[in-house]
């Protein structure tokens, strides 16, 4: 009876955790804890605002900054309608230097301009295909379809190493500068592991996942090393919680 009680309570907690985790997983990007709902709504809010870019300039960059928006709007402010890669590189370097005094701008310098239209060697074939689709969606007018693709976009971005992300954004900023700026859709990676949209509070990616992994990992290390013995009453609960957490991460 006692065991049944433990089992029932554990199952309840586990089920709850699975639901919460799955819901969170749906809301998050695949690799971290980005708040997807607020991101989507922010994009939704911003999507139709083609004409009020200058008014939003300050607020967009108020929190942390936004690579594409910052670069695009800075170029618009300067009256550059069709920016060259050098224009974008210059603004990108300026932006990063302002944000991080020790930012290594060599990866921006090293970006190969010829890769923009011909050989995007920093992208795999699959990534290139995904990017092509995303580019189509960025310039399309179907808001819902665009928003559906946000997880794919985030996922794609997260598969790239930090240095390639800068390249990707120079690429996107160059090719899609007009479309992106006109619609005030701001997609940015301001740092290697962070993905932000305009006006959003940024959540450090992967922190909660890291915490969960660290806790469950430490728990099982303790279990295997016989530091935690199965007799303790809390053991089944924490085991259940860890199982739920692990499964939710695998889904």
């Amino acid at each position: 009876m006692k065991n049944f009680f433990y089992l029932a309570i554990t199952l309840c907690i586990a089920t709850g955790l699975i639901f919460v985790s799955c819901d969170k997983a749906n809301n998050d990007d695949l690799n971290g804890s980005l708040n997807f709902n607020s991101t989507a709504s922010s994009l939704s809010d911003n999507f139709g605002r083609a004409n009020d870019i200058p008014a939003e300039y300050d607020s967009i960059d108020a929190e942390f900054g936004n690579y594409l928006t910052t670069v695009s709007l800075a170029l618009i402010d300067k009256g550059i309608e069709n920016p060259t890669t050098d224009d974008i590189k210059h603004e990108a370097k300026k932006y990063y230097r302002e944000k991080y005094a020790d930012f290594d701008t060599t990866m921006i310098d090293n970006f190969d301009e010829s890769a923009i239209s011909t050989d995007n060697s920093f992208l795999s074939d699959d990534q290139q295909k995904t990017l092509d689709k995303l580019n189509e969606l960025i310039i399309s007018t179907d808001k819902d379809l665009f928003e559906q693709q946000i997880p794919t976009m985030v996922s794609l971005i997260n598969t790239l190493p930090a240095s390639d992300r800068a390249s990707l954004f120079i690429y996107l900023a160059t090719i899609k500068h007009g479309a992106i700026a006109d619609r005030n859709i701001s997609i940015a990676i301001a740092d290697g592991n962070r993905f932000v949209t305009s006006g959003e509070t940024m959540v450090t990616q992967g922190f909660w996942r890291w915490l969960g992994n660290a806790f469950c990992g430490a728990w099982y290390l303790g279990r295997y090393a016989a530091i935690i013995t199965p007799g303790a009453a809390a053991v089944p609960f924490i085991d259940g919680a860890c199982l739920a957490y692990g499964l939710s991460q695998l889904v």
Partner: protein, 65 residues
């Protein structure tokens, strides 16, 4: 006897400890948290089976005595 059975760290335990630690290192390097999550799930199942078997074994010894 019971104490030893309960707290003895077997070779299997050591293998799982190694796997768990390795998954953390590899999962972190490859940025693949699913590797760690998989090991967490496997560990849950494995450690509970181990405890169950030990309990069964202890009961067996007790009955024998």
């Amino acid at each position: 006897m019971n104490f030893r059975l309960k707290h003895r760290i077997t070779v299997t335990d050591k293998i799982f400890i190694t796997l768990l630690l390795a998954s953390f290192v590899i999962g972190t390097i490859l940025n693949e948290p699913k590797i760690i999550a998989l090991l967490i799930v496997v560990s849950t199942v494995s450690v509970n089976i181990r405890d169950y078997m030990r309990k069964k074994k202890r009961k067996h010894y007790k009955d024998k005595l």
